[in-house]
């Protein structure tokens, strides 16, 4: 069986949670031959970040933003019309692109960028500008939208670049999903789409933080929604890691019959419990990057409440990504007089720290299915986490507490329960280890994917 894994901004040249996941999957599916089609943002030489596994045959790395490209597709009036109306129009209601007519119009070859020099394209831009923002500086509109169009048009180059395989597995929607749709149309092979995080939700959050004009935000969001809908439409199976994704996916047009949940798995043998020394001050560990979406300020407020009653130490373990947010956190720590109780440790060796920590916590406002939670549970830690993303599906009442997001008092209350009660901590931790071994091992995940691949190829 030959599987082409399609990644965007991740495996094998960019490290991160999704890349770890993909690496573990390939490693576990030793008997399957993989090729990787990796989409990166820019044209640049990117070294491998992972051990090159023996079952990986080919790796093709292609950029989204290209400086030079010469599409070979002929530009007829019909091609231009189809590309502009069916593909580049970002003002229309979001929809799944019809890849058959789109690729058919270009003869399954990437269209020439000369399309942008045509009068038809100019008229199309003027029309769109007048609809979107006739009072805005035209040159900014033109270059902003032209940039998006260029990326879109260049993405059709995937048709000439994607390796042939028995099955395509997209690691995310977006351009990886689009490449999957192209592959489906080209080779008529099954496509599996996994969605660890919710692409559209993440894009919306990113854009709301970026200070961009509303017309630009709207068209970028429409592009993202088009990508999502297209990815869902062409996928034979949509595989979220938790049930909580299903509602959003359904709302965005995913066919329910295509959705199948496969739990994430970890290498449980790497994450085993350690002996705790008696009588030490309990340590609450939040394994997260320091960014606003992780809700660290809520955790600090909760720590303020807990520390009034108990002697506890709080540590945040993860890269300080957002310096401004980190300063805000430090100010809050000072205001609440928590300088001796609350510390940022930066990037650490997680296994070492799972053993030093007594309670695992996450105060995130949004999450997918956090690997840190599974790893911590495997190491025998009870968890107190906000009920976002797939978290409520993992934490059971006998392994920890799920609290509503952005409610520090509730978070503090549940943390206090565990701080006060060492036996409860230990029993919950023990059960957590069992739960991971029962439901969240890499072996189970890999077997589920193998079964899925085989069922699609039958």
């Amino acid at each position: 069986m030959k599987v082409c894994l399609i990644s965007e901004g991740s495996y094998p040249v960019i490290s991160g949670g999704l890349s770890e996941w993909a690496h573990m999957l390939i490693k576990a599916l030793k008997d399957i031959e993989f090729s990787i089609f990796c989409i990166i943002p820019f044209e640049e030489e990117k070294p491998w970040r992972y051990e090159k596994l023996p079952n990986i045959r080919t790796v093709v790395v292609k950029p989204i933003i290209r400086t030079h490209t010469s599409g070979s597709g002929e530009l007829t009036d019909h091609t231009i019309e189809v590309i502009m109306k069916e593909f580049l129009d970002l003002i229309r209601e979001p929809r799944s692109w019809d890849m058959k007519s789109l690729l058919g119009a270009t003869g399954f070859r990437p269209p020439d960028r000369k399309l942008f020099n045509t009068r038809e394209y100019w008229n199309f831009m003027i029309y769109q500008y007048n609809l979107a923002c006739p009072d805005y500086r035209f040159a900014d509109y033109f270059w902003g939208i032209y940039g998006i169009h260029q990326i879109m048009l260049d993405s059709l180059n995937f048709a000439e670049e994607i390796p042939e395989a028995d099955l395509y597995h997209c690691l995310s929607v977006g351009f990886a999903g689009l490449a999957g749709a192209i592959a489906k149309e080209l080779y008529n092979r099954p496509v599996v789409l996994t969605e660890q995080g919710l692409y559209l939700v993440e894009r919306r959050k990113e854009l709301s933080r970026a200070n961009v004009p509303s017309w630009y935000e709207k068209q970028l969001m429409n592009l993202s929604e088009n990508l999502v809908k297209t990815s869902y439409y062409y996928a034979d199976k949509i595989v979220p890691p938790c049930h909580s994704h299903i509602a959003v996916e359904k709302q965005l047009g995913a066919d329910l019959s295509k959705i199948v949940v496969i739990n994430n798995g970890i290498e449980a043998e790497r994450f085993v419990p350690a002996e705790k020394k008696p009588g030490e001050v309990p340590v609450v560990g939040c394994f997260a990057r320091v960014v606003p979406i992780k809700g660290i300020t809520n955790l600090i407020q909760a720590a303020g409440i807990v520390c009034k009653k108990h002697k506890v130490e709080f540590v945040v373990l993860g890269d300080i990504v957002d310096r401004q947010y980190h300063s805000q956190c430090e100010e809050l720590i000072e205001m609440l007089g928590l300088q001796d109780n609350f510390h940022f440790m930066g990037h650490v060796n997680p296994v070492e720290w799972y053993h030093k920590v007594d309670i695992f916590t996450l105060s995130s406002i949004s999450e997918g299915v956090p690997y840190a939670l599974l790893e911590a549970m495997s190491c025998g830690l009870p968890a107190v986490c906000t009920g976002v993303g797939g978290i409520p599906e993992i934490i059971t009442p006998d392994t920890g507490f799920v609290v509503p997001p952005e409610q520090p008092e509730v978070l503090a209350d549940r943390l206090s329960i565990l701080v006060e009660n060492k036996d409860l901590r230990l029993s919950m931790g023990k059960r957590a280890t069992q739960l991971v071994q029962e439901k969240y091992t890499i072996r189970m995940m890999a077997d589920n994917f193998r079964n899925l691949y085989e069922s699609l190829l039958k």
């Binding site: 030079h68 960028r113 942008f116 020099n117 009068r119 100019w122 003027i126 500008y129 007048n130 006739p134 009072d135 805005y136 500086r137 035209f138 040159a139 900014d140 033109f142 270059w143 902003g144 032209y146 940039g147 998006i148 200070n211 961009v212 004009p213 630009y216």
Partner: protein
């Protein structure tokens, strides 16, 4: 991908009509004075022997032509330097330093070639060589410096310098003809030297000196790159000089070949063709156009689409006005020159004046369009238009042996073809102005 938060720029009003008229008058004033003084000096030369007449005419015209040819790239360079980020710090002064260095090297190279010619053929005297090399140096430096004034649209300084220097040249030449006619050339050189000296002094005062340290050699390197990337503009400037003088050179050389003597300068064709150039004063329309559209061009990409369209419509109006002004004034000058020729000169000369004059009416339009076409990245159209003049002038060679008027006819035919070519293309681009404006940028991005 996008620059957000731009302060929206409002439509910039174009430079007022009166200011533009002053600019265009200042642009043609030195041309009028130099033409007038040159005619007067050439009439004085007729008092000398035929050989001396020919030698002096050849030296003066030869040095003007060769220096213009050599310094043609400087025109383009100076215009580009105004916007070149590499030359933000005292760019014009640095460009001038490089230009003067280049002018010196060029003059030396030309002088060496002239010396070789001198040793090969004893037709010229050593004083002739000295006269020639001095003039090549003087004119080369003058063109280098004045190109800086033109690029920054400070026409007042070259106007003052040329008027003053040419009046002095005339006075000195007159005195020398009265007292020592054989040493007329020394008076001419002395007066001409005022051109680079006065221009240089003014340039020192007017142009900002660079604050940082920039070596002349690195500036020369950057300018060389600039020339390489704007080759079409350079070719246009060089060809423009060539086509202005080529018909005359063809006639002089063919005259020399027929008589088996050196080039014959003093002839009805020389008089007719130079007088026929008077309609070139119609370039005042080009100066008017560039002055009035300066801000429209500078802010062409600013504002909403409606504002861009309003600016484009204003630009088109000014273009049409300038086109009519250029052609109309060129026609008027042709008629005036023709009338003067009819009253004072034989039919043979009159025919050349009118033929060249009509050619100039077309050439002025080609020049006007040459200032529009770069907006759309179509400099090559202007180059092709002047190239067509060159082709027709060369094609006239076989007929010139029969009658020198055919050189003028070649000039006219070439200009007519170039005119049609440049006008059609410009009209096509102007019709879809906004589209072509942005299309050019997209093509640049995707290069």
């Amino acid at each position: 991908m996008i620059k957000v938060g731009y302060e929206q720029l409002k439509i910039t009003p174009p430079v007022s009509r009166s200011a533009a008229k002053t600019q265009s008058l200042l642009f043609i004033l030195p041309m009028l004075v130099t033409t007038g003084v040159s005619v007067l000096i050439f009439s004085m030369v007729t008092g000398l022997s035929v050989k001396e007449q020919n030698t002096y005419s050849l030296i003066i015209l030869g040095s003007v032509i060769l220096s213009l040819l050599g310094m043609a790239p400087m025109q383009m360079v100076m215009y580009r330097l105004v916007d070149e980020p590499e030359f933000n710090d005292g760019g014009i002064t640095r460009g001038l330093r490089a230009g003067i260095l280049y002018g010196l090297i060029y003059s030396i190279a030309i002088s060496v070639l002239a010396l070789v010619g001198f040793f090969l053929k004893d037709f010229f005297l050593f004083s002739d060589i000295l006269f020639f090399t001095s003039l090549v140096l003087i004119y080369s430096l003058t063109w280098a410096i004045t190109s800086a004034f033109f690029a920054t649209e400070q026409y007042i300084y070259p106007a003052l310098v040329f008027v003053l220097a040419y009046l002095i040249i005339y006075i000195l030449s007159l005195i020398s003809f009265q007292l020592f006619p054989r040493y007329f050339w020394i008076a001419f050189i002395t007066g001409s030297a005022l051109l680079p000296i006065l221009s240089g002094i003014i340039a020192l005062i007017v142009f900002k000196k660079p604050e940082g340290r920039h070596s002349v050699l690195s500036d020369v390197r950057n300018i060389t790159k600039l020339i390489a990337s704007n080759l079409m503009s350079v070719v246009f400037n060089v060809l423009y000089v060539v086509v202005i003088f080529l018909d005359k050179l063809i006639v002089w050389l063919s005259g020399g070949l027929i008589g088996d003597v050196n080039p014959v300068i003093g002839s009805p064709y020389t008089a007719g063709s130079f007088l026929g150039m008077i309609p070139m004063l119609g370039v005042c329309g080009v100066a008017y156009f560039t002055a009035r559209t300066r801000d429209l061009v500078k802010f062409r990409y600013d504002g909403t689409l409606a504002e861009i369209q309003k600016r484009v419509s204003e630009y088109k109006k000014i273009y049409i006005k300038s086109l009519l002004l250029s052609m109309f004034s060129a026609i008027l000058f042709t008629l005036a020159a023709g009338l003067a020729g009819y009253l004072l000169l034989p039919w043979e000369v009159l025919r050349i004046i009118v033929t060249i004059g009509i050619g100039c009416v077309f050439l002025v339009t080609i020049l006007l369009n040459a200032s529009v076409l770069p907006l759309f990245g179509k400099t090559e159209v202007s180059t092709m238009a002047v190239a067509s003049i060159l082709i027709f002038e060369l094609a006239s060679i076989p007929f010139v042996f029969e009658n020198s008027w055919f050189a003028a006819a070649g000039f006219l035919a070439g200009n007519a073809v170039g005119f049609i070519m440049s006008l059609c293309y410009t009209a096509k681009l102007l019709r879809d102005f906004e589209y072509n404006l942005f299309r050019f940028l997209i093509m640049q991005v995707n290069k």
